[in-house]
């Protein structure tokens, strides 16, 4: 089904190219087929948490297709959704949550339905050595600790509220961070004893931060959907990239980064 659609798009692209349009510059040029290797430029809009994994997968795709250039735009999912609805040209959109994906699909920008390709769970980030001896979510109710959570307005904050509710813990944070990165900075500096963030963020943060897992995390598993965009200038490459992400190779890379299978 998807392949057929892509083939149609290629045909359309070729057709317009034949009519003298210059829009083929960024798309699949004449002669561009899966057999002969992908060409042109592939533009992927992806949630910032995917930076490391997707950059690696993009490079792999480029090595397999020397004629292809993969460009990424990593940012917060809501910022990306806003850019897309404002008309930013892209081939693939990978969101860190279904809500922002819905913004894009509701706007009629997606080609087909989104696929959940990975998921992320919350984890407690503590400074190396865990000086405050954090053991679980209940520690977030301790007044004497310096604690950071994500602001309820941002996705990780919404997820945090869910797990606190599920665990019956009333959190007493000192700060509600605007994003995970800001929360992790405070953990790295040792200015907070613990921050509730995503497992992938803990993995990415390196040695200065340790993760403490807790069972209630299962109550707020955050799914990552991705989709090929309807106006994709390079639909064929988009398809190839989505396939790579869903392949065993792609899933392994995600798992290595702290993501878990959907």
């Amino acid at each position: 089904m998807r392949r057929r659609l892509a083939a149609v798009l290629v045909t359309v692209a070729l057709g317009t190219a034949a009519c003298g349009s210059s829009e083929d510059d960024a798309g699949a040029g004449p002669g561009g087929s899966a057999d002969a290797g992908l060409t042109g430029t592939l533009t992927v809009f992806a949630a910032a948490s995917l930076t490391d994994v997707f950059t690696g997968l993009g490079r792999q795709l480029e090595e397999e297709n020397p004629e292809l250039t993969v460009r990424f735009n990593f940012a917060g999912s809501s910022a990306l959704a806003t850019q897309l609805t404002q008309g930013a040209p892209a081939d693939v959109f990978a969101s860190a949550n279904p809500a922002q994906m819905a913004v894009v699909t509701d706007a009629g920008l997606a080609e087909g339905g989104p696929t959940v390709f990975t998921a992320n769970v919350l984890q407690i980030a503590v400074p190396a050595g865990n000086p405050a001896g954090i053991t679980g979510l209940a520690d977030f109710g301790r007044e004497e600790l310096a604690l950071a959570v994500c602001a309820p307005d941002v996705p990780c904050g919404a997820a945090s509220e869910d797990v606190f509710a599920a665990a019956g813990v009333t959190p007493r944070p000192d700060t509600q961070e605007e994003d995970v990165r800001a929360a992790l900075t405070k953990v790295e500096l040792g200015e907070v004893d613990a921050a509730l963030v995503y497992a992938t963020d803990v993995t990415a943060a390196g040695d200065a931060v340790e993760g403490v897992s807790f069972p209630e995390a299962e109550d707020a598993v955050n799914d990552y959907p991705l989709v090929t965009l309807g106006a994709a200038p390079n639909a064929e490459a988009a398809e190839a990239f989505v396939d790579l992400v869903l392949s065993g190779e792609g899933q392994q890379a995600l798992e290595d980064a702290g993501f878990r299978a959907p």
Partner: protein
């Protein structure tokens, strides 16, 4: 005084500049959901964030004046060596990304910081995540604006008035209080306004060093940013409120300060 007619080569870029500066504002106004205005404005936390913003920006400005004017004097008047280096250092917060400034404040005043660690051990007081931290972050980012504009005023002021004061028996401190300071008052006022405006809009250093907690550290810019994550319309309304309050304040002050100094100049 004769009113000069603006030459055409200035008029066109000036008009472009106005357009460039005003259009985004117009964009905000156009997109303002006027029908939901009441609901959004009376939402809990808006008044709180606004009050916190005004109070912390004002305190930061006072601190900047008290510390920054003397510093500007040293930069403008003292013959101490290393003044050039000092001036460069003072303006660092201007070029430093505010978030980095916030991290730098942690490194000094955080509970693991050079001074903060000692402070926490000696008194049990920790600065981060408090309203004090908001004021400190805003002062750090905004004070250079005051220092630079007061230093400029001091350099432009005729230092011979200070000579005249000395021949009338005034020591350096009296001269500073009774002659120099009144002479540069318009520069101090302009610097304070810049400083206040910068403090009011401060985001990066504040959210890093003071964090974000409604009531204690969540200022309007933080509230706006977070609202943007969830409800862009609410963010527009909040920005508008911040904008209106700051413009109103500046206009009020202009009549009281700048109006008078403008007449004297």
């Amino acid at each position: 005084m004769r009113r000069a007619r603006t030459p055409a080569p200035l008029l066109v870029p000036a008009a472009l500049a106005v357009t460039f500066l005003v259009l985004p504002l117009a964009g905000l106004l156009v997109r303002t959901p006027w029908s939901q205005l009441g609901t959004l404005l009376t939402a809990p936390g808006v008044g709180q964030a606004l009050r916190l913003s005004l109070v912390s920006a004002t305190v930061a400005t006072l601190v900047s004046v008290v510390l920054g004017v003397p510093l500007a004097w040293v930069l403008a008047r003292s013959r101490a060596r290393g003044r050039t280096v000092l001036r460069a250092l003072v303006t660092v917060p201007l070029v430093l990304p505010p978030v980095v400034g916030g991290v730098a404040l942690f490194l000094v005043l955080g509970r693991q910081g050079i001074v903060g660690r000692w402070l926490a051990e000696a008194t049990g007081i920790t600065i981060p995540f408090t309203t004090t931290a908001v004021v400190i972050a805003e002062t750090f980012v905004a004070m250079p604006f005051l220092v630079i504009s007061v230093e400029g005023a001091l350099r432009a002021a005729d230092a011979r008035f200070e000579d005249a004061a000395a021949t009338l028996g005034a020591d350096r401190w009296t001269t500073f209080r009774r002659v120099t300071l009144p002479l540069v008052a318009p520069g101090v006022a302009a610097g304070a306004v810049l400083c206040w405006a910068r403090a009011l809009g401060e985001f990066g250093a504040t959210i890093t060093f003071a964090g974000n907690f409604p009531g204690t550290t969540q200022t309007m810019p933080l509230a706006v940013y977070l609202a943007l994550q969830r409800d862009p319309q609410a963010a527009i309304v909040l920005s508008l409120v911040l904008l209106l309050v700051s413009v109103a304040t500046l206009l009020l002050l202009r009549d009281r300060w700048l109006g008078r100094s403008g007449a004297a100049a």
